[in-house]
Amino acid sequence: MKKSILLSMAASTILTAGAYKIPEQSLNGMALGAAYIAHTTDADTAYYNPANMSFLDPEVRYFETGITLAHLPSNTYAGMQVLPGPVMVPSAVASGESEVENIPIPYMHYVAPAMGRWRYGVSLVAPAGLTKRWKSPVQKLFAEEFTLKNVEFNPVLSYRVSDTLSIGGGLRAVYSEGKVYGDGTLIGVPIKREMEGDTVEFGYNLAVAWHPTDDVAVGVTYRSKIDLNEEGKANLYLSGIGRQFDASVSVPIPAALNIGISKTWNDKLTLEFVYERTFWSAYKTLDFEYGSPIQPALYDAFDKSKPKLWEDTNTYRLGLTYQYSDKLTLMTGYSYDESPVPEKHINYELPDSDAHIFSAGFKYKQTENLSWGAAILYDKKTSRKVNSAVTGGTGIIGEFSDGGAVLITAGLSYKF
């Protein structure tokens, strides 16, 4: 398989927001837990609130790049699994652990000098992603590997309406690769799926920045929904004999509305609160389509539309920035993030739960032009008890625990 080098590096496979959206896309964003909409100060403004580009130094070009190393501990499942039949798989067999993942994710942001009231910028980020790999027998049937990788190219414009108000927006071009592998042979279900696909999809983002006073900033951003219509090939096996099909599946990157307000004291301490509404209800079904009829015995497992019926979520973020000295900036953040996945439709590809997210970081001004820094984020997922096996149906009866993520970002900023 040919691979995009960039995409391989940007294996955006972390779960730092509910489900598979990734809001932390820069050093500041990581250190503040994405409580970074109203008061944005660097090249990453192009991504977090492009309207704020109007309030950056108009003569200066801003550039930032960095890399995030994501460590994803394994998820643990303890409980039973009800398979069609119905066949009850006892917990001694059905319990299992997902694989530990360690993934590097690069990013880049740029803001050009102002041209009158206009200014442009560009970001290259990984806005969403997911990977779950299970080796345990039952889980392997559903998600031997379930991976969604995305890279977004996001050129943006801002327009300064007045000294206190600016608007902005941009185009979102997302390249995505999906991979869905499942294998039931270890539990005597002789079916297997290997699917790989990719797509390029487009969306938009809008932003408003209002600075009513020197020390108060308000920001509102909206990122549109993008349906990732992954198209590719699928090998479907029944009892060791496979056939290849054209295949497709659609998964949304949901629309998201962010409202942030910040207050700065003595040019040193800034507190920002962000409310995020993510419109996950767009994810109604997981429906694989094939170019020709598949083996009839595989229909229920691999062709039948699976209801998801995810729910819109709220996320509350709080970020604190402290200008310790001319050279050193300290940052920390906390977020509470709701899971969009309803109990009835949770599965091993994304055993999501509500999360408490803690973050911290610093930025050091090496020279007038060059700054560098690092940040760490800890995403603590709460345990989740599940009973999705409705009367006479199939599903999970047990508890997901562990999981979460630890992310470390190293970033470099340059102004010229």
Binding site: V151, M195, D198, L238, G240, I241
Partner: protein, 418 residues
């Protein structure tokens, strides 16, 4: 700045670089064919138990099906690339698979219209066991050979020579030879037992195959048990064309279509318009019988009937008419087989009358057949000569295959004791 934008553009170019193709499925490799179904004995049993076909105590064998390409000869004497499915039981004792060898059953399939109904195509598309091979292989432990025939499978672009004995026999005999070679190439040990069977058109093909083998030489056939076939084509045609309506118009339309093509006659000499113009599309392998029948008339003949009234009149009045002669040429019962023949047929058959097998039995005996007898299915399964049970043509198939499997099983046990 220039470098920056170059980098961005490079990144964008990388973004639109797509995935390559997913590698083809890693199916087991064999020489001269392709594995299309592979069910272990355990999985096969689990499947059959779950469907209520057998109970837990029944011995069930595994089912490995190979699609084998080979060549045969059509009615015009031209070579045609065709395909067939060879289904091999697994899980038999080593003494059978390594020393005694497996017995072969050549099973010619019944009338089909859609290419998707051909054995090799079903196996390839579903990856699951299907049809008569479940009885003959998974339950009875025979290697089952199912030629797709000319017109289906790999030769779907060729018209199907429906109930034309030469090419049906060719397709079967050539497949037996191809399958034996395949077995040899892939270390599947066979013994010398060869049984012939088939249902409906397949019953006709099985008897045509036996006739070809006895006439031209070929592998020794142990027993032939053709089932519910239209062996006496002339009498079948007389019966159908003398009735005002056709129960299943696609059957006779297909006879008219195939015979007109084979004997080089204009289709409109046989079939009336507008049906004649429709037939090439109706019989191109894309439609099933239930999709074809509504597009034809059930009126047998006349101005608005299916068959050209001139043809029907000539068939009954002119013994030298080409259609009459073609029917007689394609009868498969006017000879005396020296191989044991069991004519398996349901007494209640509503499509191919039981009387056809009675006629075949009597005729073959008159031709000094050594061992021909009728096996009425309803009596065979109830062991009651006075049974009132009757099975129609469609329902009869599964019972008939069970009866044939018992006949073959007894012959195998008599020699190999398994």
């Amino acid at each position: 700045m220039k470098y920056l934008w170059t980098s961005v553009l490079a990144a964008v170019m990388l973004l639109v670089t797509g995935c390559g193709d997913l590698a083809q499925p890693d199916n087991p490799q064999v020489e001269g064919g392709e594995v299309v179904v592979n069910f272990s004995p355990e999985l096969m049993k689990k499947t059959l138990v779950s469907k209520g076909i057998v109970d837990e105590n029944k011995t069930v064998f595994g089912y490995t099906a190979y699609k084998i390409p080979y060549t045969t000869t059509d009615e015009e004497g031209m070579e045609v690339a065709v395909s067939g499915m060879m289904v091999v039981p697994t899980g038999l004792p080593e003494v059978v698979t390594e020393r005694i060898g497996l017995s072969l059953v050549s099973d010619d399939h019944g009338t089909i219209f859609a290419n998707d109904e051909a054995p090799g195509v079903i196996g390839e598309k579903t990856s699951a066991p299907d049809g008569a091979a479940i009885i003959l292989t998974a339950l009875a432990g025979f290697v089952t050979l199912q030629p797709d025939y000319i017109g289906f499978g790999d030769s779907n672009d060729h018209y199907h020579p429906f109930v034309l004995k030469k090419s049906l026999a060719n397709a079967t005999v050539d497949f037996i030879a191809a399958a034996k070679q395949f077995a040899s190439d892939n270390n599947i040990k066979l013994n010398d037992q060869l049984f012939l069977t088939g249902y409906s058109e397949g019953g006709y093909a099985a008897l045509a195959t036996l006739q070809k083998i006895e006439k031209e030489g070929g592998p020794q056939v142990t027993i032939a048990a053709p089932m519910s076939g239209p062996y006496a084509m002339n009498e079948m045609a007389m019966g159908v064309l003398s009735k005002p309506t056709l129960g299943v118009p696609s059957f006779m339309a297909n006879v008219g279509y195939a015979y007109a093509k084979t004997y080089g006659k204009p289709l409109t000499d046989v079939i009336n318009e507008p049906y004649a113009s429709k037939l090439p599309a109706l019989f191109d392998g894309s439609l099933t019988r239930t999709e074809i029948d509504p597009q034809l008339t059930t009126k047998t003949t006349g101005e608005d009937g299916l068959f050209n009234p001139l043809l029907v009149g000539s068939f009954f009045q002119d013994p030298d008419h080409w259609f009459k002669q073609a029917m007689l040429e394609n009868d498969v019962h006017r000879w005396g087989p020296q191989t044991p023949v069991k004519l398996v047929h349901c007494i209640g058959d509503d499509v191919i009358p039981f009387a056809i097998s009675q006629l075949a039995e009597g005729t073959m005996k008159a031709y000094h057949a050594t061992d021909v007898s009728i096996v009425p299915v309803e009596i065979a399964i109830t062991q009651d000569p006075g049974t009132a049970i009757r099975f129609g043509h469609a329902e009869c198939g599964k019972y008939a295959y069970g009866v044939a499997a018992k006949i073959f099983g007894a012959a195998r046990a008599a020699v190999f004791h398994y």
